[in-house]
Amino acid sequence: MVDTNINEHLDRLLQELRRGTITLGVLSQLFEPRYGYSLVTLLNEKGIPIEPGTLYPLLRRLEKQGLLNSEWDTNEARPRKYYLLSNTGKEVYDLLVIEWKSIVTSLNNIISNGGNEKNGND
C-alpha cells in the first residue's frame, strides 16, 4: 500500500521533471535536420525516453514559436518532415544550456549539502 503510493508520487514528479527538460534535449539534437521518429530513437538511445505522442506535437509547437524550421522530404518512399534549429532556436538553445548548467550546479549543491544531513543516510 505504502509502496504503491510512493511509486505514484515518484512517477508523477518524474513526469513533471521530464516534461520540463525534454525541450532542451530535443533542441540539442536538431543542429542537423532530423525527422520525428529518428529523434525518438536517438533520444531513447541517449537515455532520454520520450513518447512519439509527446514529441510530435512538441516539434510542431517549437516550430510555431519560431525555434525550429521544417521541411518535407518527399524523395524517399515515405514522406518525412525534417526539423532543424532556426537561428533564433540556436541562440535560445545556447542561453538555455547556460541556465540549465547553473540550475544543475545549484541543485547539486543543495542536494549534497542539505538533503543528506537530515536523512542521515550517508
Binding site: Y35, G36, Y37, T41, E51, P52, G53, T54, Y56, P57, R60, R61, R78, P79, R80, K81
Partner: protein, 337 residues
C-alpha cells in the same frame, strides 16, 4: 491498414482544418516507422498494428496535445454556474409543463389525450429551447463578458488591482437570482404553451372555458417578443448569479436589458391587435354579466385601462431593479475605494 486509417482520421478530424493534412501524413509516417522498428522486414499482422496504436495512445489525447489547448464553449470559471442555471431552467420548464398538463386534465378530463400530446410536444420544443438559450447566454458571457478577471491575468498587476470583497449590502443573494430564474422560466413556459389559459376562467358549476386576455390570432407573432423578453430576463438573473455582487457594469447591463424589455413590452401591448378584441363579448357570452349591467361597466373600464396600469407596474418594477442596482453598486465601489 484500415485500422491505421481510422486512427489517423480519429486524430485529424479533431484538429483545425489547416493542419489536418500535414499532421495526417506525418502521423502515418510515424506509425510506419514504429511498425518497421518492431518488425524489421517480417510481415506485419493486425495484432502488431494494434500494439503500435496502443503505444501511441488515445487519439483524443494525441489531438489535445497537438492543439495545445482544450477547446471549450464555457470555461471552468463559469461552468459551475452554468450547470446550476441549466439545472434550474430545465427542471422548472419540465415541472411547469407537467403541472400545466395536470391542471388542464383536472379542468377538462375528457380531452386528456389531447393534453397529453400537447405536453409531449411542449417538452420536445421547450427543453431544447431552454437549453439553447441558457448555453447561448453563458457562451456570450464567456467570450464577451469579461468574467475572466483580466486584470489578474495580465502581466503587470498591482496588489491594488485586487477587487474588493463585496459589502454585505452589495451582495446579490443566490436565492434571489434563482427565484428570478424560476419566475422567468415558469412565465416563459406558461405564455408559450398555455397562453389560451391566460385569461378569465369561467366556472358555471363546472369549468366551462377561458375568456383569453390575448388575441389568439396574432399571438404567434407576439410570442417572439415574449420569448426574447423572458430569455433576456433569464440571462440577466444568470449574470447576477455569476457575478454575485452589484457592480456598475452589472447595473449598466441591467439597465440595457430592462430598457430593451420595457420598450418591447410597450410596443407590443400598445398594438390594438395584441389584446383579445372579443374579450368583453366573451365575458357576456359566458354569462358572467349582461351588457349594460353595473358589473359590465366596471370590468369594461378596467379592461380599457389595463394596458396603462400594466405598463406603470412593469415600469416601476424594472426601474426599481435598475436604481437598486446602481445604489448597491455605489456602495460596493465606495468600499473598494
Amino acid at each position: 491498414m484500415e485500422m491505421i486509417n481510422r486512427y489517423v482520421y480519429a486524430v485529424a478530424h479533431r484538429l483545425p482544418q489547416g493542419q489536418r493534412e500535414d499532421i495526417a501524413v506525418e502521423l502515418r509516417g510515424l506509425i510506419e516507422d514504429m511498425l518497421d522498428e518492431r518488425l524489421g522486414d517480417s510481415d506485419r499482422t493486425a495484432k502488431d498494428i494494434e500494439t503500435v496504436l496502443l503505444d501511441l495512445g488515445n487519439p483524443k489525447d494525441l489531438a489535445d496535445k497537438y492543439r495545445g489547448t482544450k477547446k471549450c464553449l464555457i470555461g471552468p470559471e463559469l461552468f459551475d454556474s452554468y450547470i446550476l442555471v441549466l439545472k434550474i431552467v430545465l427542471i422548472v420548464v419540465a415541472v411547469s409543463i407537467g403541472a400545466g398538463f395536470l391542471i388542464q386534465t383536472i379542468l377538462e378530463p375528457f380531452s386528456i389525450l389531447d393534453h397529453f400530446i400537447n405536453m409531449i410536444i411542449s417538452i420536445f420544443t421547450a427543453l431544447p429551447m431552454a437549453f439553447a438559450w441558457t448555453t447561448f447566454g453563458f457562451t456570450m458571457g464567456e467570450h464577451y463578458g469579461g468574467f475572466k478577471e483580466k486584470h489578474l491575468q495580465n502581466k503587470e498587476w498591482q496588489p491594488s488591482d485586487l477587487p474588493g470583497i463585496p459589502d454585505e449590502k452589495g451582495k446579490i443573494k443566490r436565492s434571489d437570482s434563482i427565484a428570478g430564474i424560476v419566475f422567468y422560466a415558469i412565465g416563459l413556459v406558461f405564455l408559450t404553451f398555455s397562453s389560451n389559459y391566460f385569461g378569465v376562467w369561467v366556472f358555471n358549476n363546472k369549468f366551462t372555458g377561458v375568456v383569453p386576455f390575448l388575441n389568439e390570432e396574432t399571438y404567434g407573432f407576439y410570442l417572439l417578443f415574449i420569448i426574447f423578453i423572458f430569455g433576456f430576463g433569464i440571462l440577466k438573473e444568470g449574470f447576477k448569479l455569476v457575478i454575485g455582487k452589484w457592480t456598475y457594469k452589472l447595473a449598466l447591463f441591467t439597465l440595457v436589458i430592462n430598457a430593451i424589455s420595457l420598450t418591447a413590452i410597450l410596443v407590443m401591448i400598445k398594438q390594438a391587435n395584441f389584446w383579445n378584441p372579443k374579450f368583453m363579448n366573451g365575458l357576456v357570452e359566458s354569462g358572467l354579466f349582461a351588457i349594460g349591467s353595473e358589473g359590465f361597466n366596471i370590468v369594461s373600464q378596467l379592461w380599457g385601462k389595463l394596458t396603462f396600469w400594466l405598463l406603470v407596474f412593469l415600469a416601476i418594477a424594472l426601474i426599481w431593479d435598475i436604481v437598486n442596482g446602481f445604489i448597491k453598486a455605489r456602495k460596493t465601489s465606495n468600499l473598494m475605494g
